[in-house]
């Protein structure tokens, strides 16, 4: 299969690109490298020393993982080149990771809110437009987020994208309908993903574009079997207050002798998935695309749920680290129950990797190996959801 991976230099995009190339697919990474520029803006760097993009790609070829092409391009602002790339490469599928993906970064300031909205909406819409304009039947696989559902709106078990409801018809008789789950975004970043859903809905309805939207949980872990093959293939490890995510951050904090900082009570229940499973899900979704004419296919790309405080206590038990509650920068309920369905990707063949002390040990090893690279002053979240 010929696959374009937009955002293929990023935390999820890079191991997915390796996985797809190694499975025999022809991969073209398209990336603006803006994520590396944001590291410079924030004065941080991946805890792991990630190689320049061309060096990573050369190393992948040297290790027999297949040939990956690369085009540096900002898909949110350079439509003409995007269309040319799509037309020339003739992909069967496009994987879309090319969005600003951090909630705290999206809430840092007015500029960051506007950057996130303009960048993410333009990127997604440009990609859909290029698919239509190319006149090719291209399957679009998008990385969404479990955060589109919110955490308290409905009270139902969170289904995979669509909610069955009872509504009265014009005669007052109740009828069953399947609707897109009512969106309840918790940040500007999450809001853009709920807006993306409407872009997919319309382009699927009007132009019959085949779309899979994968609502991913919080990713933990750093490496896959392929990124472990050589240090030049290593994946990003974000620990800063903007891009660091909760379980990886706790393990890094424990490795550095830094208390495990829990935002508010820690009663927030969230969905999680290991990076190894994340890349498998992408491959599975690509290899079994939705049928022509099918509505937007939505899967929950998450394998388990945990309360943040329980994760902190688990890491504390394994490492001896101290747990510290800090003020919550977010405007959110600090106690919620989360029940989710996630059967779709298992139906395609996913074998879930559950949270285990063994896998946590692997992350701890990585964090300890590179802890001399950490800037501890960058750990606290300095964004605020309050004006």
């Amino acid at each position: 299969m010929k696959i374009i991976v937009l955002g293929g230099d990023g935390f999820c995009g890079w191991p997915a690109s390796l996985e797809l190339a190694n499975a025999g697919h022809s991969v073209l990474i398209v990336d603006s490298l803006v994520r590396r520029q944001i590291d410079e803006e924030l004065g941080v760097d991946s805890l792991t020393p990630i190689a320049p993009t061309d060096q990573r790609i050369k190393s992948a070829r040297d290790h027999g993982m297949g040939s990956i092409a690369f085009e540096r391009l900002d898909v949110s602002s350079d439509y003409d080149t995007l269309l040319k790339v799509v037309t020339d490469f003739e992909p069967d599928a496009i994987v879309h990771y090319a969005e600003q993906r951090a909630a705290p970064y999206s809430m840092k300031s007015s500029w960051h809110r506007r950057y996130t909205v303009n960048n993410n909406i333009s990127a997604t819409h440009n990609i859909l437009s290029a698919i239509v304009d190319s006149r090719r039947d291209i399957h679009l696989v998008h990385l969404g987020t479990m955060g589109v559902y919110g955490y308290n709106t409905i009270g139902a078990v969170v289904p995979e994208g669509y909610l069955d409801i009872q509504v009265p018809d014009a005669n007052g008789d109740f009828q069953q309908r399947s609707i897109l789950y009512p969106a309840d975004p918790g940040s500007v970043y999450h809001m853009t993903k709920t807006q993306d859903q409407l872009l997919f809905y319309f382009y699927n309805k009007n132009y019959k574009v085949r779309v899979t939207d994968l609502h991913q949980g919080i990713v933990w872990g750093t490496n896959t079997a392929l990124t472990l093959k050589d240090e030049s293939l290593v994946n990003r490890f974000d620990y800063d207050g903007d891009f660091g995510t909760v379980l990886n951050r706790f393990l890094m904090q424990a490795s550095c002798g830094y208390p495990l900082t829990v935002h508010g009570s820690g009663g927030q229940e969230r969905a999680f998935i290991h990076i190894k499973d994340s890349v498998q899900c992408i491959r599975l979704a690509l290899e079994t695309p939705p049928a022509a004419g099918e509505r937007v296919r939505i899967f929950n790309q998450a394998t388990e749920v945990h309360k943040v405080l329980n994760l902190a206590h688990l890491v504390a038990r394994v490492t001896g680290a101290e747990v510290q509650h800090v003020p919550n920068p977010r405007v959110e309920s600090e106690n919620n129950e989360l029940k989710i369905k996630s059967e779709g990707l298992i139906g395609l063949g996913l074998q879930p990797t559950r949270l285990s002390e063994g896998l946590m040990g692997e992350i701890l090893e990585t964090a300890q190996k590179y802890r001399h690279r950490a800037r501890l002053d960058k750990i606290p979240c300095t964004s605020s959801w309050r004006a």
Copy 2:
């Protein structure tokens, strides 16, 4: 009250600005004048000869309708100036008409799709950001569209924004919930209005911005009592295939001896409102804002529903014009039933102007007076919803 009217030079914005100024409010029109530029792009002009913006405003003052200030500004692209204008003027409310508002224009080409998305989403988000950044409690009144609901998705009587549904909770017991009505946009333009709803939802939830979203039906009529006071105050009259809307277009076609072109069967049932009522609704929504902390207030700004074919037959009966069916450029169901609720604005004091042959006569007079300005070759809709 101090009110900024964004898009105050347009078809709805201009008569609303006059109404508000004449009612004693202090009005600042902010407009990029892009709508006049689009006329040039399309090679058409308003059927009525609209005066330049500064001349209109001078005439309004000369006729004792109060003082209107004007700032030429593109709110979608010049955020810093927008924030300065909001900070300096210190408005109590902002009316937001500053979006590309034509479905056919939004579907003309790839460029037009992308222009509509980028322009409309950036405009709405910049305005919300400016309200937050100004640190003022400003009531935002937005012109939405009845098209956010779609025409066939649910089958319920279309409520004012929110739908009461029954959903099973985690125990399988059905609970009543109030959700934003499931969006079903029929064009890229309509899609942007459904995305706007999510912007309002988040900024209201997180930053407590007070928002009224007015889902307007198809506007008919041209003039209000105030725009009739002098030819220099006359309102726009669009009849071209992109910006012309159905009832006004039929009346113009009848005046020019052009057959009444019905797209497809004409069985589409749509919501309507007269321009006189549209401006009253804006004033009423502004003068009774939602309370602090209230969720986004949504009203259906429409007073009646009609099937397109019935309107064509009505105009044919009054004028003797011929009805002609032409291929439908849209991808849509050509037969639907529409039942709507629209009690909110009546509760605020709206006295609906119903469709009558008398008011149609007024529009016919206007159309006949200016028919020498018409370009008949611009009447057909050349946009297509098909790739």
